[in-house]
Amino acid sequence: MSSKPSVDRAAPAARFPRDMVIGFCTVVLCAVAYWITLSFADAPAAVAQNVQPATFPRLVISVIAVLAVALMVISFRKDSRPGKSVPAMVAMTASMMLAFVVAFEALGFILAMALFCFFMPVIWGERRWHAVIPFAVLFPGAIYMLFVLGLGVHFDTGILGF
């Protein structure tokens, strides 16, 4: 798996100040969050005591929006250089994180952990099998002993029955 820097995808940030883009995205997110608050049910006046469930979130959203606009305004006065591109390895690692949780649910914790402990070092470039294989076996084993047998943490049974 190559981790060479990919083509620079931060070009738009060079055209617009980076913080302006961040501020704009934040304002858009605030608009979406505000729109979601419109779907909150209204509570009876006697219960709500004039503070409806949406009141406080809307107040916080407004504060974030004001701060984001301030960030956009200040960004005009700052130099903005394109940021470094994210190595492909980060995307691969992020996918492995998500795959681990899926495997956690589907295969069971022990198997998911063993697979993760085997593939993650390999993906990161480790080729010393005499270290990788014991790590993939012993580390999950140690975790099982400590947390399941020692601390009594319950994990749902996986497809292999453990």
């Binding site: 969050a33 301030a70 994210v86 681990f100 993760f116 402990c117 070092p121 990161w124 580390f139």
Partner: protein
Amino acid sequence: MDAFLTALAAFSDPYLIAVILIGTIGGVLVGAMPGLSSTMATALLLPFTLTMDPIPAISLLSALYCAGTFGGSITAILVNAPGAPPAAATAFDGYPLAQNGKAGMALGMAAVSSVIGGIFSVVVLIVAAPLLSRVAYNFGPPEYFALSLFGLSMLATISGESALKNLIGGAFGVLLATIGMDFTTGVDRFTFGYWELSEGIHFIPVMIGLFAGCEFLTQASKLKEGRVRAIFDAVKLPGWADFKRCFGTICRSCGIGSFIGLLPAEGGTVAAMIGYNEAKRWAKDKSQFGKGDLRGIAGPEAANNAATGAAMVPTLALGIPGSATTAIILGALLAHGLRPGPHLFTETPTLLYAIFLSMLIANFAFAAFGFLGAKLFARVTLIPTEFLWPAVFVLASIGAYAMDQSIMDVWIMVLAGLFGFVLKRYGFSAAPIIMGLILGELVENSLKQSLIIFDHNWFHFLERPIVVTFLVLTLASMIWPLVTLFRTKRQERKAANAAQN
């Protein structure tokens, strides 16, 4: 006095002493490992402490916190890679000393100044926390609202790329805290039909994700970077003359660190930087700073350790975290069903004394470990990244899962990690989000109660002197970064004009 004696009696239990020593060794180890910090370690450990009694649980986390702050200095000195952000300033003079074959001297000075700073801060904690809690007895919902607002506004002044981004992060944390059922009305908010979210997002998985998950991805982006190996020679320790020369710096840094630590949201990193700058400013001969001056180690180390105990003062007395790690300790107190604030001092004084004592023991213990095992602890940097970080991620997943044994918490942890990585890339820090998430409930509830008390007249806030004081401080802390920015720009402009002329 009875509470103190009960706490002291608790320390006759070898189990408690063992827990503190394990916390101390663990703290030094994680502190020494670049990327792993005491904040992350406390976040990872917190779910597992829930099965323990409150005294050993909080003592363990407190010991880890104290030792982790010191541990960062070991790798800062030996390999120029600060194990934790508060140790960054220590590397300025520590690494040149190590390169000159004086690693032992640098480590010795770091250990001594850290332990003096740490013990001083525990004394500050013992004196200031009860006093502050007595003041806090007069606090009602409006005062708590103004205080939590002040705590959040202080995020503007903590280190990071931008004050505004810290504030946005803090406010975003508060917004995250609104997810789930509104306890006044019973109405679900931002749950999108998932009943698991009705109880809200617990801060522990978010915290673990933002620190451990995010760092896992950061390490993935740095795999190509070369590894620095420690220098294992030169064990000559500092002599009495060296301590005498650094004594003034240590005393000054104790004061600076304690003051910075007392302020909500500020922590060891800011204290260390100021401690270093002041050590340099007060020195008659500044020529050796940056090249290997022992005062350049004593200043930041005494300051960042002095900030640890002091940061516990607002955490315990007011329920407002003094730093990112104390935010997690605050979370631990809440998770154990304890109420941080003035009531803690009347309801569970034994626990408080136990915290004080465990921090004292941890300070002495890390000094001993620092002297005896620094070279051994520095070896943690030799653990291959390819094994260390996958292991940390697995532990993070268990930590997130173990609390409620819910897979939803693991999803939240992973998503928080991914989100945290994106935020970090765009200049946001994790600490403000955590602070906002922890303080969110207090902010909302105190505001709602205040509005009900004031019959929805906001001007009544201005009739209460403590509220007005906090609001003025809030305004000042928000304006201060702008003033600093303006002054820096003006100085830069002047310098540019001078260069042109």
